[in-house]
Amino acid sequence: MVNLTIDDKQVTAPKNSTIYDAAKINGIKIPILCHDKKLKPFGACRMCLVEVEQMRGRQVPACTTPITEGMIIRTSTPDIIKARKMVLELLLLNHPIDCPVCDKGGDCDLQNLTYEYKVNANRFSDEKFHHEIDYSNPLIERDMNRCVLCGKCARICDEIVSFGALTFISRGIETKIGCEFEGSLNCEFCGSCVSVCPVGSLLARPFKFKARFWALTNQKSVCGYCGTGCNLTLGVKDNKVLTTVYDENQGFHNGQLCCRGRFGYQFINSDKRLNTPLVRKNGSLTEATWDEALELVAARLKGAGSSAAALATPRLTNEELVLFKRLMETAGSANYDHSAGYAHAALTEGFAKSFGAAASPATILDIQKSDLLLVIKTDSYETHPVIGFEINMAVKNKGVKLNILSDKRGKLSKLPDAQTLVHTPGSEIAVINALAKTILDDKLAAGTAAAIPGYADLEKALAGFTPEAVAGQSGLAASAIKRLANDYAKAEKALILFPIGNAYPGHNADLASAVANLALLTGKLGTEGSGVLCMAEKNNSQGAVDMGFYATSGLNAGQIMDGCASGAIKTLFVAGENPVVSYPNRAAISAALDKVEFLVVSDLFMTETAAMADVVLPACSFAEKEGTFTSVDRRVQHIKPAIRNIGQSRTDFEIFGQLIAKLGGQAPATPATVFGEIAASAPGYAGMSYASLGETGAFAPVAVTAAFVVPKTVAVEPAAGKLALVTGSALYHNGTLSQFGEGPMHVCPEGYLELSRTDAAKLQIKENDLLNVASAIGSTKLKARITPRMPEGVLFSPYHFGAAAINQVWSGAPVTWVTVTK
């Protein structure tokens, strides 16, 4: 700590902090326009000038000057105020001052400072700018006439998002922020630039002219898309979520969000939301009362036993999942599952055996504290973009080494010094086994490894996985495998990251075991910056696992579908899932749902699955309910309703509670009661309560009981003349819900098929050609997207879309062999 005096106040601040930081932590406000706590100091705006006595009263920028022992600083002498006034006058010289029509009004740093410093007139005069305003994309409006050139947008895009869409162009009076060749913005549309802009140069178009900032009620919540568990502030007016509001002090990510988090909120107040319960009468769904609908469902569930089954989306709160499970148990059935049954296997089967806990022994916070990251699939960026930002920052700011094992290249591969090993699709487990084998052969294993149960079996099982043997099948050089194994084992701290989800059937229990073996062999576990982080797909996927909402004694999702098809399952209750789109093999799923006698769907929207139902119950979005979500690193976070229920919709908590009551059970009154039960029973949740979770949430610790498990490997046999199709997540989407978010749909409105330049040339395919993709189970038509990231012979397609869905082609195997024709 360093002692210094600011405005005659004795204060202390950590070493290496700047005058601005030191003042801020001691509650002294220094005005600034170009600072954001996530970004490196820049010193562009000159608003933060302060006087330092030791520098003979010279005015220095507080944001770039480091503190020294005994510094005496004055932040608001008459001279400084005069200087700041002049800075504002100069900034206002070219600023259009169109506050009445500028959406930033009320939330604008320049406006606030002008008001605070009473800059009513300007001693200077100059022409205003006449830059063209960029309206070319539906999400971000760029009006460079209002720009004060603080550079925050360009810096956040480079330092955190690592995209670099914006930069300073030209110099002197002609300087402006823009894209290459002064073209229009074509980026990830995460909106980070919009969030940090201190003036109205960058604005969110979906919120344009919707409301003034002071008219909004800010409601803190947790994002309802992926499992990262980002905190959100929802801007609410008249029971409508109108925008997301940036708060740099929120969450581990300091308010940083991705495209879907920031721009995908429109599903909450969508016109397409279901308002009333629907009951199928004479073949068509007709409006009904809640009593009528619930009575019907209760009658079907009563005493149904194992002929009833349930599928839930892991977007429900922990409390709702517990209640749903109780509902099924009251009905006498143990058939319940989520995420297609296989998408949680990495946790519930893999980690459960290897670590003795169905959770990841690492947190997102470890990413920046590690020395080496091993990322399985570049898709980690697309599935969890804010974790991707953490990786960007770790690599760019902390010098963390990044190694990627993937079947294609991706944005992560472009990071400085990132090593990407591109293997043939489906061979990741073999490669990881080869890494383990190298570690064993090169005597790089930690001393503690031999004592872990299963060591001998593993050693024996790995015999065939020499780097040379795996090299042939994986398309990697043996030397590359050896180098990666050495780097991983020799790094002091190393973290493995891999995404799981409906679209990643290859990321199964065996992959989880293989990865766990690596960490256990080298002892990269249990310390800060080391471990394995399995990134589950949806916002409460980890919670669904923790609540035990998966098949233990009953049927899993796949078997439930088979049961529906064979007639063994007569009543199926689907809460929020959309199996018709998100489960592989659409034809089989549709046939099964057609066959089942009674299908109940509770959902926000009339999804493809809901359209087949006998009873449709309108449910509530995360913005309307209370409960807890558990993120991928087991951070349990409490959400409160931001708006009242839309229409007649009810939360799933209410729906399940009322059904339990109708079946003669005892329904808990509030989510808090249920959370009390969770705290008493779920491992790691002990001692938690809504009050103790607070705003930041709390981590449920993971107790590891290590064991080596031999992963099964299934060799992927290439089919002659066919291409390997791998499915996955698009950056702008998560599950099927983001189809109802306007932002994501503006940027990525439909499915596509990514293919390599070589394949495109061979098949004479041009960008945006409509392709017929056919596999053994069916075919679909998708637009071609030719990208340099795909290796030859490999195709990629995202799975989120109901129209031209890839699951008409994709059988559920990690790799589907397809033919592509024009």
Partner: protein, 134 residues
């Protein structure tokens, strides 16, 4: 006191008023002269055949009676305009803060004071009705 004196005083006052100009008006045949700064019904100023209002939301913000409803819209040139502008005259207290707050001189108060109507809904003046009469 002499009981007659107050009566005489009263009659004197009555008599005096008989010769003064009456304060009352024979409304509606006689019309009052409305003062320049009288705060009556609002009007939206027009410039270049368009309402001057840019929907900055300052008037609904400053309104103590919360009687103004504004909804902004984006026109073809991406400019901001008031897609909806309503004043509920039943709630309005005619304080004139809206006029004072307006940064573009888009709203003023006229001398119009005859606001009686048959239905409550008729007291909600929408943008069409508020637009300056030519």
């Amino acid at each position: 006191m002499n009981p007659i004196t107050p009566i005489i005083n009263g009659l004197r006052i009555t008599l005096e008023h008989l010769f003064k100009k009456p304060v009352t008006l024979q409304y509606p045949t006689e019309r009052p002269k409305v003062a320049q700064r009288f705060r009556g019904l609002h009007a939206l100023n027009v410039s270049h055949d368009k309402a001057k209002c840019v929907a900055c939301y300052l008037c609904p913000t400053v309104c103590p009676a919360k009687c103004i409803t504004v909804e902004a819209g984006e026109d073809a040139n991406h400019d901001k305009y008031a897609a909806r502008y309503e004043i509920d005259m039943l709630r309005c207290i005619f304080c004139g803060y809206c006029v004072e707050a307006c940064p573009v001189d888009a709203v003023r108060m006229t001398g119009e004071f005859e606001l009686a109507n048959y239905h409550r809904s008729d007291f909600v003046y929408d943008k069409e009705r508020l637009l300056e009469k030519k």
